[in-house]
Symmetry: C2
């Protein structure tokens, strides 16, 4: 193929990288493990962010901003959390450079500018935030605190992948403080539902909501709720998490409040986040060997309009005018479109380019069609091409965008549903994992040891214990010990 995209069958992970790079979403940078999010990728992120931000505000949250740095002594305070992240921490030790006396034009660290206490670049912000909440919370009247922040975080990963696992990434992290346990649990569940709603209804990716096993829980949480999506290669991708933190951080940072009965209590906490990793999920859930496929609701451009250009200057101008007119009419309906009237590129090149970029609809405006009162529209998802009457074009486009959105979700859901396999013995477990992939629904004896062993042997982990899981007597797929419910295993990103 002229686009030079590796096919999924040939090499899935090359295919993924090709789409990110050639689709114009992101680029490698000079910093190990860090990426540049290019304008096209960033516009996608902005669209996602704006929808989520609105949902957060509708559920009563407000945004704030906390420091990038966490003094080491604060970072240590909640020990489980600190241990969980210690191995991935970028650490600032100095606050000044100076000119290198032995090397003109070069700089070296000024040894006299060593910090008294090292600063951790936040891998997550519970520590710095709960240290702040201590100042904000005295009485039950100060609760709840429902705060979110959009921020960059750094986790020094050894093996990185564009969007999926980068040393620096963008995310949002909600941090809430509550007077009661039940209110905090309710918040945790509410936010996993907000995430599921967003990922399913805007990103068109079906998810399974569930709770993590102890092994996979967020460091410092009592319970981690997750949404798990399935990629086309049969691997799962954790797409958002919401943590019930109990009183762990309140105890670590001594955050108490006086309740209505005038007694002091520790505050209850939650935290929840999604990140630019979601863009990785998006790519792997929908795209094909021709390029990206982006659901209309979050697509940077929903429609590309290509006027047919010929040597007839007058005709060409009239096609361009028609294209611009359509763009303006679509804009009034809130539809994001672009017009490509670049004369230096042939239509075939443009078609391939916008297929690669995953623009949901392509409208070609040509003189012959126009004379017949129609235009040609191609759908990116099904690659169908049809002509539609020009007089009802806007309604047609609105309808098609809707159809594409629904079709992408339905297709991803069919794939996901056909990749949940109930398995009752370990041999089949391994066979399904190798040959089919997807989620394996199996009994588990509930111990971390068994989960560890299964992971060691198969690279599969427990993705979640689905919410509202059916109770069912059974035997652990590995140890044969008794079990009361099935859990979902999968290999995962």
């Amino acid at each position: 193929m002229s686009k030079g995209i590796t096919s999924r069958a040939e090499n899935y992970s090359e295919w993924y990288n090709d789409l990110v790079l050639k689709g114009g979403l992101a680029d490698y940078s000079a910093v190990r493990g860090c990426m540049v999010i290019k304008p096209y990728g960033f516009t996608l992120w902005e669209n996602m962010r704006d929808i989520l931000d609105k949902k957060f505000k509708e559920t009563g949250h407000v945004n704030a901003y906390f420091p990038l740095f966490v003094p080491k002594s604060l970072f240590e305070a909640e020990e489980t959390n600190a241990e969980g992240f210690a191995k991935e921490c970028a650490v600032v030790t100095h606050y000044r450079l100076k000119t290198d006396p032995e090397n003109k034009g070069k700089l070296i660290i000024d040894p006299e500018a060593k910090l008294e206490e090292e600063l951790v670049v936040r891998p997550t912000s519970e520590a710095i935030i709960w240290n702040t909440y201590k100042k904000w919370i005295q009485s039950y009247r100060d609760l709840p605190i429902l705060v979110n922040q959009w921020a960059n975080v750094v986790r020094w990963e050894m093996r990185t992948r564009l969007f999926l696992r980068t040393a620096e990434f963008l995310w949002q992290e909600g941090h809430t403080a509550h007077a009661t346990k039940s209110e905090a649990v309710e918040e945790t569940v509410q936010m996993i539902n907000v995430y599921a709603d967003f990922v399913e209804n805007y990103m068109a990716i079906p998810v399974i909501k569930g709770v993590k096993s102890a092994n996979e829980r967020f460091a410092g949480a009592e319970d981690t709720y997750t949404i798990e999506a399935l990629m086309q290669d049969g691997k799962a991708l954790q797409s958002g998490t919401s943590h019930f933190l109990g009183q762990n951080f309140a105890k670590a940072f001594d955050v108490k409040f006086v309740n209505k009965e005038n007694n002091e209590e520790y505050v209850w906490a939650t935290s929840w986040g999604v990140s630019t990793r979601l863009i990785g999920a998006l790519i792997m859930a929908h795209s094909d060997d021709e390029g990206l496929i982006i659901p209309p609701k979050i697509a940077p451009h929903q429609v590309v309009i290509i006027p047919f250009l010929s040597k007839n200057v007058e005709e060409t101008q009239s096609m361009i005018d028609k294209a611009n007119e359509l763009k303006q009419n679509l804009s009034k309906l809130g539809i994001r479109s672009i017009v490509d009237s670049d004369e230096t590129k042939r239509p075939g090149f443009k078609f391939a380019e916008y297929e690669l970029k995953g623009i949901p609809l392509r409208v070609v405006i040509g003189p012959r069609d126009l004379a017949n009162g129609v235009v040609e529209i191609a759908r990116r998802d099904t690659k169908e091409k049809s002509t539609f009457p020009i007089e009802s074009l806007q309604e047609t486009i609105v309808g098609l965008l809707d159809e594409i959105q629904n079709n992408l979700f339905a297709k991803a859901k069919r794939f996901r549903d056909s990749h949940i396999t109930e398995v009752d013995d370990f041999e089949t477990f391994q066979k399904v994992l190798e040959e089919k992939g997807g989620f394996i629904s199996a009994h588990w004896d509930g111990t971390p040891e068994t989960e560890d062993k299964i992971k060691e042997l198969t690279k599969a982990t427990i993705r979640c214990i689905p919410l509202g899981n059916k109770k069912e007597e059974g035997k652990c797929v590995f140890t044969g010990k008794s079990s009361q419910e099935r859990v979902l295993f999968a290999r995962a990103y």
Copy 2:
């Protein structure tokens, strides 16, 4: 005063801190020189950001995101820029912590996880961005690149002030690449005009547009355009800058393009930014001894509605209903309002609270007024209280918000205009600076040495050479050497 705000006359800088902290805009943090932007302050920033972002997009820019870290070797590449920022750089040297074997529960830097090359936490992103642009630019067809990013940056300042000068701050930085010098200069000027428009018409702060002297120029720029505002204490505040970078970064990072004539040329660059510092300007331009005064166009809440609460439950409920109804009606007009029906606080307390927070309009809904078909509205800017007929309330509020916006600008402009003093001898220069403050319009011989000496003696710097400055023969206020134009001096934040 019960609010405990220091008056401006008593201690201007205490007054400023009181407003930031007690007004709920920001808080100190556990990290030296870094602040927490609280929800009220962050909502203000969001409002400012959204307006600016729209203006950037309307002028053809797109957002992207570049890494937080800059490898030292890249940072060094543009030497003037590197030297300018070297003394303020936070530096990451390690990527892992480990448990302290001698101190249970504590963490130490893992000496084995030392980075081969130190990473500078970006104080500004020219280096990392131009290193990336090198990959993006081959031909004139790749130009212009019109990219902006919203990001956090770190400059390790020794003396910090909330919003005005913090080690970490939020900003936007535009970085554009052009085929010709004239196009780059045009972009530089366009963006300083965008900033001036925003600061004057949304923040209601008059600014003087000008060019910096060599001493005050951005490190690495050929020319720095600035907007300078005047604070109530007579000190200037640089509120936004736009830099024409010439080919300096293109040369440092070897970014060339093939022009239409098939010749290789270096690319021309600009960069431009405004930051959370603008919030400091906002506070000091408008607020008074009662608290913040925030212009309606960017105010988090434009109207606070306070229903009169009494022991008569039915009457109270009807007042609350009226308040909520008004809130909904205002919302339909795009007006941001809140209702305060907290029974635990007295009206007087609420009035003081919302004065402190700078909400432009306060509407009190009481049974007696209501019986007469009116409500009471108080303006934050003039503190006038009047009753207005309820049947035209929405129009009244729209009109009042407009009036407040205009009044704040007019008042700040009167103050600013009356604080530009033409001075022709150094004695008067010093006297005006001490007794009156503000901008001093004086002749200068054009040398950095004279500027340095004046700064040393008076703490005043050249804020700018105003755009469209009148040419006028004169003698330098300090050296008596000949000069062709006056420039603006001031003490500055």
